[in-house]
Subunit: 330 residues, 2 copies
Amino acid sequence: MKRTLLTFLIFGLALVFSSAKAQTNDLLPSWNEGASKQAIKQFVEAVSTKGESTFVPPAERIAVFDNDGTLWSEQPLYFQLAFALDRVKALAPMHPEWRDQQPFSGVLEGDLTEILAGGEHAVLELILATHANTTTEEFATIVKDWLATAKHPKTGRLYTNMVYQPMLELLAYLRANSFKTFIVSGGGIEFMRPWTEKVYGIPPEQVIGSSIKTKFELRDGMPVLVRLPEINFIDDKAGKPVAINQHIGRRPIAAFGNSDGDLQMLQWVAAGSGERFCLYVHHTDADREWAYDRNSSIGRLDQGFNEAQARGWTIVDMKRDWKVVFPFNE
Amino acid sequence: MKRTLLTFLIFGLALVFSSAKAQTNDLLPSWNEGASKQAIKQFVEAVSTKGESTFVPPAERIAVFDNDGTLWSEQPLYFQLAFALDRVKALAPMHPEWRDQQPFSGVLEGDLTEILAGGEHAVLELILATHANTTTEEFATIVKDWLATAKHPKTGRLYTNMVYQPMLELLAYLRANSFKTFIVSGGGIEFMRPWTEKVYGIPPEQVIGSSIKTKFELRDGMPVLVRLPEINFIDDKAGKPVAINQHIGRRPIAAFGNSDGDLQMLQWVAAGSGERFCLYVHHTDADREWAYDRNSSIGRLDQGFNEAQARGWTIVDMKRDWKVVFPFNE
């Protein structure tokens, strides 16, 4: 009994010390010292310090993150579009009509001009047409199988390796300070959920995205949810605050994005009372990642850039602020 | 320093012992000993005991609860309908046309025949017509103000007092065993969220319900979400598994309901692999609450009752299984 007691005490002590250490250590080692890192830390300390007028109860420490271009790369194509293109090729033998029908014919001929010109909406349309008519569980398996093997055309890496190391640290830093981290993405909710927990530490119930409709059916007495080729919700621009309200039901206190598609989400978060934090990732690093903003068809940052400057939101200069970009750079 | 260390150790020890005590004490004191209580405890122990083949990792311990008739009463009217009726009366001076228009004229004349005959759908329609055209924040305030003063016609109690004490204990017992508890209700998502955290310990992001559409707007530069008089989603029957998939993104392992409106949710949960638990609350207590099932227009339990019996789901007999019904009975 005495030995058991001692074990308890030592274990408790180890917990106390490791937790104290975690608070004082730099949890953002891939962030260069500078205004961006400083602003993040100041905000987190302000809302986490008991007794301060800026303190926010843990339950209300909600942080929302865009995914494409904010947590992982989105060039030269949204990764979900790369997945969709591979699905078109895989399904083409069963769809001879696709040979004469855009956007499928373009995909099969390797000409993506029409799709790229249409931006995130065109992507969603392609996804709708190619990703329905499976059950939700079948679809999750298809996504996982693809991610296990498909390689990015530039880096040759798995897509789930092309996440931003500084943002992984930021997610973990926020959670270490009792934040609940959510994804709010224009990407497909069921495209993200099979892997976000493993890659970002964000469980499926904290992933919000665009969706197609599903239908409950009994198949030989077994219930399934069938994915229908019909848009349910597009989680982009003014849709983001709507989706945040629908899924979370309270206003986040911090928002992270990289494009004009995130602007309304940042506005919605900024307009709440008390301490607020809004951050844009600005893609400025053509060597280590990509450099693009106002004129890009993917991840355009134009109006949002102006508003961020005018309101004093944090703008991360990827080249200047990030010591490493991808985990495999370390 | 030595004294601080000692304080840490004693504090840690107190935590260890209080937590061990919580596990062995009866956390369901308002449940009579019997098959229902036994089934609940067996299930929770099976999924929580490390090393057992029935063990379920904490992240996957998701439990979903219907609200009306499962967590609080729903007679003689859904409580949200009582709220809606009061809203009709409050708004009537601004809507002279309601005097000649059903269902409003019926409400104003005190004749609810038409509304009751229509069931949960009719309720939702009335809610739509009377609850839109506010911002989400204004609406939350209206709900909170009503709940602070409105009294139940039979008990004279606040509606939020008419929650089931045994179910409050069950929610807490599940959470003490690392379950994440969600509400999945036909009721309005924004009608529930202002009070579920305080009353049930369930935060807004774990509340799923029926909803109307909302729209993001900038009013003099300030973003608001405006509630539109348009159905977004009806979270009833086959809608419940769809909503669970949309909001949670994984299949719960336990489901609790009281009516045929919950049947598909229970089927969906039961059909997953591994340990599963499905429970129906059967309203059998005309003295302490109400007695109704197969022929009730509110909370009809007919097909679901048959299926529960055939599949061996737990059926709570309120009169037999519950020592007390409401917290104010204690």
